[in-house]
Subunit: 177 residues, 2 copies
DNA sequence: CCATCCATGTAATTCGTTACATGATTAT
DNA sequence: ATAATCATGTAACGAATTACATGGATGG
């Protein structure tokens, strides 16, 4: 689950409490993905158990209960491994965004190859959509029902086009290093 | 859950088996959303229990087990109610796609108002993203880390821009009726 | 003093995925 | 024959959402 790797990245930037992580999660990749505090505490518990992170009870601030998490070497290794391994499951485009953030923190891991591969796949899908559009909706005189069905397909097309345009922006940034 | 309304729409087009619904689900809105057959049978069972649909065991085709589902008046009423009620929970943009398909089948329900409202919200979000971009990334000399963080934000921006462009295409189709 | 923020959790429910299971029909 | 497709389900597990619950610190 890539939520763990998103948290590892944040913790590498700065050891934090679960509460703080929740806020920063929303600020960094909140454009696409929200994680509730329950989710975050659960994943922190699992990663602590796995030895990826460590929790230190911070009793400096009076009686207030405050648990600071920091990344341990196995956690850093896991993050590096995950960034350099192309995604097979889940939503690869979303994972890539989290990997970009990770790259910003732990340096180059050849992410441009995964991006290139994703671009090939998205272009293929876009081509498929466009073929369907030509086949089913190229006619000048469409009924309202057909126009609405066309609109659903159009949403898929503009989403793919937007994603590819974005990927075209990002690729040089990943390469020029 | 809007999966039920997607199924109601398909069933209004044509009374079908669960298997057939699964195939048509993939073909119609499969660009964004996949539903497994297990999910579909579960929802069909619930809707039958709620009196929205009716199952007739089709024994015409030999011993082959084949269950035909068709929409009952309460189901049609529920679909109309759902289409005309602006979405508050879940992913409103995804719901809108299913509503478009429903509109193609059960006629005008003032969907253009919900689309208009969604456009206002997306435009506001886009403005917010652009402000963040100006504030944090307008500088000419950005570090690699900053460029990568910028890329994540850019993904949000192009997604919003693409969605708004799409909405601009669809709005006239909904209005000209 | 009261609201808001900081901070951490548990419990119940629902949703989605994966695996398992069965059997008839149709095309090669 | 046998593979693919049609067709319908159950069971187990994991993930996400919602509700519930607590309590200290800070600012007005």
């Amino acid at each position: 689950m890539s939520i763990q790797h998103a948290l590892l990245t944040s913790l590498l930037e700065k050891p934090s409490t679960g509460y703080d992580l929740a806020r920063r999660f929303d600020k960094s990749i909140g454009y696409f993905w929200h994680a509730s505090h329950q989710q975050i505490y659960r994943e922190l518990g699992r990663m602590a158990e796995a030895g990826w992170i460590e929790a230190t009870d911070d009793n400096e601030a009076g009686k207030r209960r405050r648990r600071l998490y920091r990344v341990l070497p196995p956690g850093a290794a896991e993050l590096a491994r995950w960034v350099s391994t192309p995604e097979t499951d889940g939503d690869p485009a979303r994972s890539l965004l989290i990997k970009l953030r990770a790259e910003a923190v732990i340096g180059p891991h050849g992410l441009e190859r995964e991006l290139g591969q994703l671009m090939v796949e998205h272009r293929a899908r876009l081509d498929t959509y466009r073929e369907i559009e030509q086949r089913d909706f190229a006619d000048g005189a469409l009924s309202t029902a057909q126009k609405l069905q066309h609109a659903v397909l159009r949403a898929g097309i503009v989403a793919e086009e937007g994603w590819l345009a974005w990927a075209g922006e990002v690729l040089p940034v990943l390469r020029d290093r």
